[in-house]
């Protein structure tokens, strides 16, 4: 078996010519959602299934990943923490704030938080950043996967409140949550346009790519908050 580091904290394992995406398990011995644990040279990896994770898919689609081991990440739409658990693996020296508004799902997420030292659970509606502004610090990266019709608004207001200057926004846009009938290409174009010009903060879209074949009709996007350096 050979191990290649695709990005800091993210690995591609080559097991008998099969390539597997993985992160180093910071809690060896514990599998989070039934994923495979793979040992190599005394190090335990957790398999990361890109078809169950937008971030995983973005990595495989060669997105520039702004999440570093010491980043502070604000994750909107954490669900039960499938992806958050891998982010937690990457953040060996960082912290992820995981926002989720469904109490039912939050129950599972809390179990994950109980196991891991670097996830802060927040039961709240991402539409209302003021309702968690007393908890969340400035973030280097905002990752958002909420599948809501107003995805770009949610991204914009959260960036406004929490994104560090020059911080990065990573967005998974699901076209069907925005418009069920329009063509995804059109929806994506409109969302990118909104993000670039509809809000009172500016984003520079660095990369955008559809996430197929891992996720149909989803667009992945990385943008940087644009700040006027007037002073």
């Amino acid at each position: 078996m050979s191990v290649k580091e695709l990005h800091r904290g993210i690995y591609e394992l080559d097991i008998n010519d099969r390539k597997v995406l993985a992160t180093k398990n910071i809690m060896p011995g514990l599998s989070v959602y039934g994923e495979r644990l793979i040992k190599d040279d005394g190090i335990e990896y957790r398999q990361w299934d890109p078809s169950r994770s937008k971030l995983g898919a973005m990595v495989l689609k060669n997105f520039e990943n702004p999440i570093e081991p010491d980043s502070t990440v604000l994750y909107l739409g954490a669900a039960s923490g499938t992806t958050v658990s891998h982010v937690s693996d990457i953040l060996t020296d960082g912290l992820v704030y995981a926002v989720e508004f469904s109490p039912r799902t939050m129950r599972d997420l809390i179990q994950l938080c109980d196991q891991r030292p670097n996830i802060i659970p927040i039961l709240a509606d991402a539409n209302k950043p003021q309702s968690y502004a007393h908890i969340v610090e400035k973030a280097d990266v905002i990752f958002q996967d909420v599948a809501q019709p107003n995805q770009s608004e949610i991204a914009a207001i959260n960036s406004k409140y929490f994104l560090e200057e020059h911080g990065h926004l990573m967005l998974s846009i699901k076209s069907r949550s925005i418009d069920t009938v329009a063509s995804p290409k059109k929806v994506f174009k409109e969302e990118v346009r909104k993000l670039e010009s509809d809000f009172d903060i500016e984003f520079e879209v660095l990369q955008r790519k559809e996430l197929d074949p891992f996720h149909e009709d989803h667009l992945g996007l990385v943008a940087r908050m644009f700040v006027d350096d007037e002073e």
């Binding site: 003021q130 908890i135 069920t180």
Partner: protein, 349 residues
């Protein structure tokens, strides 16, 4: 100069106009207490200055904690506690909602009876009064005797010229007390309704999204639980609550019931009669799906409502005109009689 105050999870921060820290007032480092505060602040949203010092920087700078790690550990502890307590608070199970729905029905029954009594009783003293229900109760509770109706009131003339009997002081006191009780029942009713609205959002977000909190809760109540509702085929969902209409149909050859309580959804109620059957079928099928999604995943999936809206729209578009062959003059499902308590009947269907 202090410009803004902002409460963070660890204390109150005073900021100047640039967002820099002027002063910091810490809370006790007691995780349980801090968690309670975190929850309160989430519900009671404060104005948050966009320009503000970073929370971690503030905590370190002001000496709430010495080290980054200490901040992480305490914050994590506090937030896990907060989230756990929120879940036990908000994740009320369906049985509590069902109790609330039934309490609502009990109140309706009582309040209607009491209101009718008040109507008759007070009518002896002020027969010209054109009020019923809550309005009447509020009126009696506010004024009592006709003599107390102020001049600027729209009914002051009627009150002074009324042919009703005079109200003795003792009777007036009694009627007022009686009316006060009715008013407080109406208040409780509203309180319960709010409770249902909020809890439905977390217990059955999809049901809520598809047909509204009140009808959704009623469906759960009639089915017995969310689980049972989720297990019903949609043809059953469509007639839940129609049993009274069904008996009426058997007894008196009234039209057979097409819709149960989902008929109360404005989407159907406000539709022309010839579309109602089709609309109800579409609604019932999405209600089924919503109940299942709520029961099995508990996550809001907006696509259910979106698909429903599309379906409804296509039904409307495909059936713009009444069918010609049927020479029906009376719209279905509406009795001929209309009383001033028509509302009560509608609510109970």
């Amino acid at each position: 100069m202090v410009d803004m105050e902002f409460t963070a999870w660890f204390g109150k921060i005073k900021l100047d106009s640039e967002g820099k820290i002027e002063d910091c007032d810490f809370f006790d480092k007691d995780p349980e207490k801090l968690a309670k505060l975190v929850v309160e602040l989430e519900d009671d949203v404060q104005a948050v200055p966009l320009k503000r010092a970073d929370l971690r920087d503030a905590a370190l700078e002001c000496g709430f904690v010495e080290l980054d790690e200490e901040y992480d550990i305490l914050l994590r502890d506090v937030c896990i506690r907060a989230a756990k307590s929120q879940i036990s608070q908000t994740d009320t199970d369906d049985s509590r909602i069902i109790q609330a729905v039934q309490a609502l029905d009990d109140i309706d029954k009582n309040v209607n009876e009491l209101s009718e009594r008040l109507f008759e009783w007070y009518g002896r003293y002020f027969p010209e009064l054109d009020m019923t229900g809550e309005e009447l109760a509020r009126f009696v509770s506010a004024y009592g005797s006709r003599a107390n109706v102020p001049e600027e009131h729209r009914l002051s003339e009627k009150a002074s010229q009324s042919m009703g009997a005079e109200l003795s002081f003792a009777d007036e006191e009694l009627l007022r007390a009686f009316a006060n009780n009715i008013c407080s029942l109406y208040d409780t009713r509203r309180y319960i309704e709010n409770y249902i609205n909020t809890s439905m959002g977390s217990v059955a977000p999809n049901l809520c999204n598809v047909t509204g909190a009140s009808i959704g809760a009623r469906l759960m109540s009639m089915a017995g639980s969310l689980q049972k509702l989720a297990a019903f085929p949609s043809s059953t969902v469509q007639v839940i609550g129609a049993s009274r209409a069904l008996f009426k149909h058997l007894r008196s050859k009234a039209p057979s019931p097409k819709h149960g309580i989902i008929f109360n959804n404005p989407v159907i109620k406000n539709a022309p009669w010839w579309q109602r059957g089709k609309l109800a079928r579409a609604l019932a099928s999405k209600i089924s799906l919503a109940a299942r999604t709520d029961f099995y995943s508990g996550e809001l999936s907006p696509s259910i409502k979106e698909a429903l809206d599309r379906k409804l729209e296509s039904i409307r578009r495909a059936n713009p005109n009444p069918p010609k062959r049927e020479l029906q003059t009376k719209p279905q499902g509406k009795g001929g009689k209309k009383t001033h308590r028509g509302k009560r009947k509608g609510g109970k269907r």
